[in-house]
Subunit: 193 residues, 2 copies
DNA sequence: TCCTACCGTTCCGTTTACGGAACGGGACGG
DNA sequence: CCGTCCCGTTCCGTAAACGGAACGGTAGGA
């Protein structure tokens, strides 16, 4: 596995592409960024082109200089794409645990069409949806709510619930699932990729 | 910079601690995980103890075998901690761009005490706050709103605004900043931190 | 008690990521 | 036209991350 520099399962040069994009976004030359980040030009060049397998330290030096967290260049391929039905795509952004509950945050897209159903979750789970664009009709199947851009919906998801885009514009929203502590079940089940 | 193995600005052995925790959580021995992940025991041992500066490839091999995304072991120390005033901590979780806007999502904690002020952002920026625990009073300084667990606040943040915990319980919430596209200003200007 | 099995760490030779310097190429200015 | 500047890539010696093997320590079984 440690044979070819370019990759090894993980799409290594994807990281390079992101870094190059971020660098050019800021109008920095390779030489300049390398100097600011305190790494060699050869290193940065190889990193961006995916011909090297960077050290965590190197990667951090560069991303820190770019002003983004490490996750910004790694999150893409590591995300866990989920599809409920075919027209509802939800992408896991982050999981974090507080003293009282575990949270899963998703970015969500609902395409126009018939309502998409989602089965009941464990007891105590609540869903929080904030709509960014489009109009969403969602919630328990027997009494869903409607939300437009900037609006917010919330329900306990221990009953079957549905998602639908109102009108022909796709809906973009964030979805936050809140699992009371001690819940969450097995975690290794839904491994990415 | 590439001198001492342990770290170089980035808290490297924090990553090791997370990996060790994840491994033990699953009841795996170091030897077993090393074999499963296809890395040497020496490598994994050094990684967990923070005495090495792992390659992205190595780190991925291990996290993939543990069934977690790379971000799960990096998110902590790689996050950009922000302090507005002293009692409001906001941690950047994710930045993503849609067709119409750029979003920055923060996890937020407000400690009890006097209201914390935040200066105005660019025109068109909106803030969306969802409260998980505690009671938050926040919004434009002249007419803030109040939200309890599960509740939601939103305002346009082109005027000075404030955050305050109501009562003596700290507030935990998510904060979403929405920058209209083409805005974002000097990319590094309005960066948190 | 001794033997075996497995644990995690350490030793060590090999592989490779590292930064500095050299390089070719394009963009201006004299 | 040529000198200068900066771009990004390539060359190369050095430093260090890599995996395999050897090591000490702890259980559990014969």
């Amino acid at each position: 596995m440690a044979t070819a520099p370019p990759a090894g399962g993980h799409d290594a040069d994807q990281v390079g592409r992101r870094i190059r994009a971020l660098r050019e976004e800021r109008g920095l030359s390779l030489s300049t960024l390398a100097r600011l980040a305190g790494v060699g030009k050869a290193t940065l060049s190889g990193l961006e082109n995916g011909t090297r397998n960077p050290t965590l330290e190197t990667l951090y030096a560069v991303t820190a200089q770019l002003g983004v967290p490490l996750t910004a260049v790694l999150s893409g391929p590591a995300e866990t794409p989920t599809v409920r039905g075919a027209a509802v795509g939800a992408t896991l952004l982050e999981v974090f645990t507080d003293t009282d509950a575990t949270y899963e945050l998703y970015r969500m897209r609902v395409s126009p069409g018939p309502p998409q159903l989602s089965p009941a979750h464990q007891a105590g789970v609540t869903e929080h949806v904030t709509v960014f664009s489009g109009v969403l009709r969602a919630g328990p199947v027997d009494h869903p709510g409607t939300a437009g851009p900037g609006e917010y919906l919330r329900w306990t998801s221990d009953v079957p619930h549905s998602y639908a885009a109102v009108g022909d514009e796709p809906v973009r929203a964030s979805l936050l699932l809140r699992y009371p502590i001690g819940d969450q079940g097995g975690r290794s089940a839904a491994r990415p990729e």
